[in-house]
Structures are given as structure tokens and as C-alpha cells.
């Protein structure tokens, strides 16, 4: 009964596209609703891409500023509002990362993440925290074009097609990048380093028949 009521309530909620239309007309409530729905996605994408909460804040703000100023540009036939926003966020992140590249180091990200209270509060144990930090660090160490695919497809659960739209590339490219990125990550996050020699030995004996 409750589930049915939830479904009915969701169906009566305005879609993102309707909210953008209202935003074009200067409806602040629509903007607030859209922000409430989508800002966390944008923030997390920027956070995973940069590893820096303050940059993620800036990117989220900048993304929605662009939405305020250019909401009329949005074309619903070209993709969902979420994709539109992620596309803007991606451009913002890449621009900032390129500007700051000479001074950004992966270890610095790691250090800042260590101080992130929100992450700490959600981790049940130190070991788990360490593991998650290691995953974060591994993702941050990926080249940008692999990193963004992993974040979108794995962490944000965006479909291949939508990811391809956001990254402005072919679906096949997304698949191949993700495959390569996963291979790099799997290698970096191998459970026991001492097994690597065994793994290498196994690799040499793999069957290609």
C-alpha cells in the first residue's frame, strides 16, 4: 500500500525537464527542487574526479550557475537533465584540473580525503576506511579519460549510452575505456601484493586456444 502510494506520489512529481522549463520562466521553486534532486550527483562526480571537497563544491556551484544562465539552451531531445548537468560538471572539473595540474598530487588528495569528516562518519571500521581510501586513491591515479568513465559507469551507475553522451564519444569507446580502467584498477587493488608474482606466472600460462 505504501509502495503504491509512493509510486503515485512519484508519478505526480514534475520531471526534471518540466522543472527546467519552469526555471527558464524564473521559477525559483523549480530551481530549488532541481538542485535538491541533482546536486549530490554533481558534487560526488566532482569529488571523485578531483578528490577535493572544496573543488567539488565550486564545481557544483558553477554547474548550477550555468544552468541558471543557460537553462534555455537545454534540449530535452538530446539527453536527460542529469546528463546535461554532468556534462557541464565534467567540463568544469577538467578545466580546473588542467589549470591546477602542476600542483596537484595524488598523495595530496589522499591526505585531504583522510581529513574528510563526512567519509569518516559513514565508515564502520578503520579497515573499511582504509580500503575505501585505497579505492579512491586508485581512481584518482587513473588518467582523466579512464577516471571519468569509472566514476560515471561504476560509482554513478550511469548507462553506457548516457555516459557516451556526456563524454561526447561512442558507446564502444566507453566500453573499451572502462575495460582498460578496470584492468588498471584491479591491478592496483590486488588483495595481496605477494600474489602478484603468482598472478604473473599464471598470466604466462594462460590459454589462448
Amino acid at each position: 500500500m505504501t509502495a503504491a502510494m509512493n509510486l503515485v506520489m512519484k508519478a505526480s512529481e514534475p520531471t526534471d525537464t518540466e522543472l527546467v522549463r519552469r526555471l527558464v520562466d524564473g521559477d525559483k521553486e523549480a530551481f530549488a527542487e532541481l538542485y535538491q534532486r541533482r546536486h549530490a550527483n554533481i558534487y560526488r562526480f566532482a569529488l571523485h574526479m578531483s578528490g577535493r571537497p572544496e573543488m567539488a563544491d565550486d564545481v557544483a556551484q558553477e554547474t548550477f550557475m550555468v544552468l541558471i544562465n543557460k537553462s534555455a539552451v537545454y534540449d530535452e531531445t538530446k539527453g536527460a537533465v542529469n546528463s546535461f548537468l554532468l556534462g557541464i560538471a565534467r567540463n568544469q572539473v577538467l578545466r580546473r584540473l588542467r589549470q591546477e595540474r602542476p600542483t596537484v598530487q595524488v598523495d595530496e588528495h589522499h591526505e585531504e580525503i583522510d581529513h574528510d569528516a563526512s567519509v569518516h562518519s559513514h565508515l564502520s571500521s578503520f579497515a573499511r576506511k582504509e580500503k575505501i581510501d585505497a579505492v579512491r586513491k586508485a581512481i584518482l591515479s587513473l588518467p582523466e579519460h579512464y577516471r571519468e568513465v569509472v566514476i560515471l559507469c561504476e560509482l554513478q551507475e550511469v548507462s553506457y549510452a548516457e555516459t557516451a553522451h556526456i563524454l561526447n564519444c561512442a558507446v564502444g569507446t566507453v566500453r573499451s575505456r572502462l575495460h582498460r580502467a578496470r584492468a588498471i584498477l584491479a591491478e592496483k587493488l590486488e588483495p595481496a601484493r605477494d600474489e602478484s608474482s603468482t598472478s604473473s606466472a599464471l598470466n604466462s600460462t594462460r590459454c589462448f586456444a
Partner: protein, 243 residues
């Protein structure tokens, strides 16, 4: 299935992606037989688990409240600016329209004023001081004379070829009690000069016939009033008949 193909599918299998059931079964069967592929599949599953854990751990991370405060303020200021600019634009448009109306009204008034001066000047030139038999209002005549004195060049210009302009002004000098024909030139050059005089006289009605005007023969013996325009030399330049 070989290891190369399996490697391409390992990620999708570990992520539980939709795929052909037969292909999936083949891949899993291959992993059971091949140790290397089995290890790779475990590594991929481990990676998937780690990534999902990270996604779950960061699921509730959101931007700081300051971001919304800034955006909200920016949205408000943008709306206010937009309203102000549109209101200001409306005021500018209204002002421009008002200015144009005032300008148009002023131009019309100036044109009317000039026209009235020209008419008065022309009348003055036509009716110089000696107009003994005129029925035109004396006060107006006085004004006209003053106008003529003040603007002699206008008078000269208006008077020298005596025709369309002067003829067109005939209704202006006619008073309600009188109906007059247009001036009929008595000389070829039509030059009147600035000292022209208009003399009212009476002629036999039959005289109208000599100017090509229709005459009622029943009243041919009656007399008709006529205005004769005399030049400075005393010779008649034009004539009109008045009823």
C-alpha cells in the same frame, strides 16, 4: 571461448551486466577450466565489490550548504536585475514615445504657425492699405499690413507670379457674406508688384460674358460687383467677380 574473449567479458560478468545467457555460461565454464581467467574474474569481482563499497560510502555526501546559499542569492539578484532592467526598458520606451509625441506636436504647431504667417503675408500683399471698399475685417487687415511690413521678402515672393498660389488663397480672403470667382488675369505677365491695390467696383453683368463666365440673360441688365487688382502703375492686372 578463449582467454582473450573471456578477458573482454570478465568486467561485465563481475558487474552483473546484462548479456546473452549462453555467452555468460560459456565464460563461466571457461573460468572453471582456466586458472588465470578464474583469478582475473575474482579480481574483477573484488574490484566491483570495492567500487560499490566506495559508492555506498559516498552515497550521502553532498555539497556544503554554502553552495545553495550562494546559488539562491545569485538567482534572486539575477531575477531582480532582470526585473529592474525590464522595468527600466519600459520606462525608456515610454519616455521615447512621449518625446516623439511632443516633438511631433511641436513640429505641427510650428508648421501651422508658419502657414498662418504666410497666409497673412499673402493677404497683406494682396490687400495693401488702400482698400476702401473692402468688407474684410479692419482689425485683421491692420495685422496683415504689419506683417507685410515686417516680412517684405515673403510678400514679394508670394506675389510675383500671381496665380496658383494667389488663386488658391481666394477662399481665405472671402468673407462669409461674399462669394467670389478666382482672379482672372488681365495681362500676360501676371506681375503685380508689391504696391498692388484692390479696388471694388460694379460692372454690368454682361461684362462677365467677355471673360467667358456664364450670364443669366434675364439679369443681364443688373450690375455685378467686381474686385480689380491694380498694379503700381494704375493698370488693372486681374479681376474677380463677387456676389
Amino acid at each position: 571461448m578463449n582467454c582473450q574473449t573471456f578477458s573482454e567479458l570478465a568486467g561485465d560478468i563481475a558487474r552483473d551486466q546484462m548479456m546473452d545467457a549462453a555467452v555468460r555460461a560459456q565464460a563461466l565454464a571457461h573460468a572453471d577450466d582456466c586458472i588465470a581467467c578464474s583469478v582475473e574474474l575474482r579480481a574483477q569481482e573484488h574490484l566491483t565489490s570495492n567500487l560499490r563499497e566506495l559508492a555506498a560510502a559516498t552515497k550521502h555526501e553532498t555539497a556544503s550548504p554554502v553552495v545553495w546559499e550562494r546559488l539562491s542569492a545569485d538567482f534572486d539578484s539575477r531575477t531582480v536585475t532582470h526585473l529592474k532592467s525590464s522595468r527600466r526598458r519600459g520606462i525608456y520606451v515610454a519616455g521615447a514615445i512621449a518625446a516623439m509625441l511632443i516633438l511631433a506636436f511641436g513640429l505641427v504647431q510650428i508648421a501651422r504657425y508658419r502657414e498662418s504667417i504666410n497666409v497673412e503675408a499673402t493677404i497683406a500683399a494682396t490687400f495693401t492699405p488702400a482698400l476702401p471698399a473692402q468688407t474684410i475685417d479692419e482689425r485683421k487687415e491692420k495685422n496683415v499690413i504689419v506683417a507685410v511690413k515686417q516680412r517684405p521678402q515673403v510678400v514679394r515672393h508670394r506675389l510675383s507670379p500671381l496665380s496658383p498660389t494667389t488663386r488658391g488663397l481666394t477662399p481665405a480672403i472671402n468673407q462669409p457674406k461674399e462669394i467670389a470667382t478666382d482672379f482672372i488675369l488681365l495681362t500676360y505677365d501676371g506681375e503685380v508688384g508689391s504696391e498692388a491695390q484692390l479696388v471694388r467696383m460694379e460692372l454690368p453683368r454682361s461684362a462677365m460674358a467677355s471673360f467667358g463666365l456664364p450670364v443669366n440673360m434675364d439679369r443681364a441688365d443688373q450690375r455685378v460687383k467686381a474686385d480689380v487688382l491694380l498694379g503700381a502703375d494704375g493698370l488693372a492686372r486681374a479681376i474677380r467677380f463677387v456676389q
